[in-house]
């Protein structure tokens, strides 16, 4: 197998080759680095590439394997992380000039756990500024969609999705507050998982709204995400909301098929006026495929979900405004025009809306829990439309445009499950007439990531989308 081909393999295939000692971690890392050097100028997926440190880590991993010591399935496998996650000794910019010189003195817990599992950090990935996108003029380059370089990747975990899609690296970590793992996963044609609130530590994550923030994996397949989740999930005393619930056997859930699985299609999201007809058709086809694959499918209703975006904004935006207020006061012009305007707006939301929004969020959670009593998972589109052209002007010219494009439009199918905390994943479900990917969102009960991964993997096995990749 050529070095170039190694970079195209997923985590599962690399695990086999590494543990049979047919390839070395150093060979795999060099293949990825070569591909990054070749394609990153076009894609701007990476902000920082840690070449020498990655090669040293790869050689250590090879040495351990040579002595018969494996740390697990991720041993020697390259990964990269959103530049919102601390990495010890490696600058962590949060996609912003505000933090361009910030070098953390410790790893985020999720990074530390992947390293402890033997995975090799290649570098830091581009993102929408402060995780509060979109960004008109990203300070570290414009992230481009590998399926069409004139289109956005979505975000805010832009590079986390595009790097996997373009096979620069087989595994990445992103962070999701309103959809920031799932949205770019859908628009770039990869799998992205937001775990249950409290399943994965937020320690070292430069987030926006702590009650909604979560780190999670992106990869080319559900099984690769399962391997990553097993490494990063679990109690962390540095993040008090992490749960003591035992970490499930996620890899064991892969390959169980759809027999006996009950799936609820969320009516309000499938009927949304914002949903592009061709994306609706692709999701409907996905539901048909799931049914033919052995699942029992029914429609479910979550009435409050139509108000989820307003609930989300009432809670999340003031959190972000409070977090970044010192920078709005002292360095407003070091913040890109779009997140700056969004933060200024968020600063003016009256605090009196927050308690009502929190109560409605609890009611929304109860409705989702109720829907999940009769079924094992819910499904919906991940995004209302495929990747849009990269914006060249940031002007908003009406209140209607302000809501649909700047606020609710992007994340209206994903943010409900940040409010409620349920695990949610996006898996590719086909391509539009313009050959752009679309995503199917799968949502599970609390701490039932295994069910979500099982359904996503089963869907992948009966459809051709997992094996499609862009010619960059």
């Amino acid at each position: 197998m050529s070095g170039a081909d190694l970079a195209l393999l997923g985590v599962g295939a690399l695990t086999d080759l590494l543990h049979r000692r047919e390839v070395s971690s150093e060979e795999v890392v060099r293949a990825c680095l070569a591909r990054i050097e070749s394609l990153n100028p076009k894609l701007a997926a990476f902000i920082t590439v840690s070449t020498e440190a990655a090669l040293r880590a790869a050689r250590r991993a090879d040495g351990e394997l040579a002595r018969g010591r494996s740390r697990g399935p991720l041993h020697g496998v390259p990964f990269a992380v959103k530049d919102a996650l601390w990495t010890k000794g490696v600058r962590t910019t949060n996609g912003s000039r505000l933090f361009e010189d910030f070098v953390p003195s410790e790893d985020a817990t999720v990074v530390a756990r992947l390293r402890a599992a033997g995975a090799v950090l290649l570098g830091k990935l581009n993102m929408m500024e402060l995780g509060f996108g979109p960004t008109l003029r990203p300070p570290f380059g414009v992230p481009r969609n590998p399926w069409d370089l004139e289109r956005t990747t979505g975000g805010s975990s832009s590079g986390s999705a595009s790097a996997v899609a373009a096979r620069l690296v087989p595994l990445t970590l992103g962070a999701d507050t309103g959809g920031s793992i799932r949205l770019p996963a859908a628009l770039c044609g990869v799998v992205g998982l937001k775990p249950t609130r409290g399943r994965v530590s937020r320690h070292g994550l430069m987030g926006i709204c702590p009650p909604f923030d979560s780190a999670g994996p992106l990869a080319a397949s559900a099984s690769d995400c399962a391997l990553a989740l097993a490494a990063i999930a679990g109690r962390d005393r540095k993040d008090p909301i992490t749960t003591r619930v035992a970490v499930d056997d996620y890899a064991g859930a892969i390959g169980k098929g759809l027999g006996g699985v009950r799936i609820g299609v969320v009516r309000e999201l499938m009927q949304s006026a914002m949903l592009r007809p061709e994306v609706r058709a692709l999701v409907a086809d996905a539901v048909t495929a799931l049914e033919k694959g052995g699942a029992r499918v029914e429609e479910v209703s979550i009435p409050l979900i139509d108000h989820a975006s307003a609930i989300y904004i009432a809670i999340a935006e003031p959190e972000a405004a409070a977090r970044f207020r010192p920078y709005l006061l002292t360095r407003p012009h070091d913040i890109d025009v779009l997140p700056r305007r969004r933060l200024l707006t968020a600063s003016l939301i009256p605090a009196s809306v927050i308690p009502r929004a929190r109560r409605l969020g609890q009611r929304l959670r109860a409705q989702v829990d109720e829907a999940l009593r009769a079924v094992d998972v819910l499904v919906s589109p991940t995004t209302p439309s495929p990747a849009s052209p990269i914006a060249t002007a940031g002007r908003i010219e009406s209140k209607e445009e302000a809501w649909t494009t700047a606020a609710a439009g992007r994340s209206l199918f994903t943010n409900p499950f940040n409010i409620t905390g349920h695990p949610a994943l996006s898996v590719p479900c086909g391509f539009t007439a313009e050959r752009l990917p679309a995503g199917l969102q799968v949502i599970g009960r609390y701490n039932r990531e295994a069910d979500v991964l099982r359904v996503a993997a089963a869907y992948e096995s009966i459809t051709p989308w997992r094996d499609r990749r862009p010619e960059v």
Binding site: S309, L344, L348, W403
Partner: protein, 61 residues
Amino acid sequence: MADLAPEDVRRMAAAIGLSIADDDLEDVTFRLGATLERLAALDRLEPRDPVPPAILEPDGA
């Protein structure tokens, strides 16, 4: 709900110590107006409590 004027928004921001540049003002005005309209709709989703809260006198009467 009455539409916000840009100068309303500028004064609101100034009241909390923020200044809004001229280039940002119209955009922020549209965004804030849209947001407040959608948030007002949340008021109708909670039932009004028909029983007003009891008010205790300081001496417990």
